[in-house]
Symmetry: C2
Subunit: 215 residues, 2 copies
DNA sequence: GTCTATAATTAGATAGAC
DNA sequence: GTCTATCTAATTATAGAC
């Protein structure tokens, strides 16, 4: 991050803000319409600039996609690392429950994360290769290692970690990924604070069999 | 189904088989690449016909999409109805566990179902309207009514049905929707028979707290 | 019914002025 | 850095022969 700031020294003052606006617009468009459905023109309009300017800041559509995804995962990593750092000394089961809650909350505040993962992970291709190698694998390894330790301690049902991983990520994120559907079906706003908290309660209760949320 | 057969009486013998091949190809393409990413040419090639023939059988791209989705949901409805019919007289908890297992199995054998739902339910639009009105709402209502009854009997944790619905559908389907990712991360084939069975076990165990699969 | 050929539209990317 | 104008390629859909 310091690197890029240094690398971009000498650019005009507005450039960084423009780059940022483009990345935000790109993330939303890619998440809502998937890679093929998102057009460079739509992203430009959403960012309040003209379309060729995107090709000035990012040489091609898929480079823009990678930059937007990088920023999103950096945000996730920052949030989870900060939460974990505040839990040193706490027993592993309680720490895991609280990290899971943080993950549910992040999934709700940033539905783009799982929308993009889902869109790209359905089919093999260069974007999936990149996504797994650069971002998903470290998260998967850390999560399944944690589950394996808890299962060994008898604190989780004896289920292979890969199943727990997809139960957790799918169960936590789907209501927010499918927010427009959820609004129609249930008549509720999944992004309301109390709905997010209730969903976090439900995820933790089903995974760990506890009905008492801890904070 | 009898209706369409009657309505199409008089067509040449090969027409029905061609229509069917097109629908199968369309479902796979739409599921893998989403609506915008799927091209009529790719569908035609996969079906072994030329592109303009799709516009002969289906007037436009989104009519083809609807026809393919209709056939898939008809298959789901048939499978679940058959399973439920075989469970008359069985107590509701056991029946629900077995229907959930059937649903997990169907999600594995037909990952197109949740791939298409996910792609379309991220954004409001005419295809989501149609999808919810014609297919998802009846399933949602039946599922949440069942959950509400079981919760009232104390057989499910006291969690609002909408949360259970998204925990179930997301938890059951995600591993199969993201099969290419899962292969890379865990090095396993999620579509292997024993993996599907293990995932069904895990879903039932976490939802209903039972570790003994029933059949 | 199914094909070949093609029209009309829209996409991503580049050239060049300011 | 950001714009206007435009190129090339690819898309859906239609016309018309067989």
């Amino acid at each position: 991050m310091a690197d890029t700031a240094i690398a971009r020294r000498g650019t005009r003052p507005s450039a960084d803000a423009t780059r940022d606006a483009i990345l935000t617009a790109a993330l939303d468009e890619f998440a809502e319409r998937s890679f093929d459905g998102a057009t460079m023109r739509a992203i430009a309009t959403r960012a309040g600039v003209t379309q060729p300017l995107l090709n000035y800041h990012f040489s091609a559509k898929d480079e823009l996609w990678r930059a937007a995804v990088d920023r999103l995962f950096a945000s996730l990593d920052r949030v989870i690392a900060a939460r974990a750092a505040g839990l040193r000394g706490v027993d592993e089961l309680t720490a895991t429950k609280l990290i899971v809650r943080e993950f549910v909350e992040f999934s709700a505040r940033n539905p783009q994360l799982h929308r993009i993962i889902t869109a790209e992970s359905k089919t093999d291709g260069p974007r999936l290769d990149w996504l797994v190698d650069h971002h998903v694998r470290p998260i998967y390894d850390a999560t399944t290692n944690r589950f394996a330790r808890l299962t060994e301690l008898g604190l989780l049902p004896d289920v292979a970690p890969v199943h727990l991983y997809y139960l957790l990520t799918g169960g936590a994120a789907t209501m927010f990924v499918l927010a427009p559907e959820c609004r129609r079906l249930a008549g509720i706003d999944p992004f309301a604070d109390d709905t997010i908290a209730a969903h976090a309660d439900a995820v933790v209760a089903l995974l760990f069999g506890s009905s008492e949320p801890e904070r």
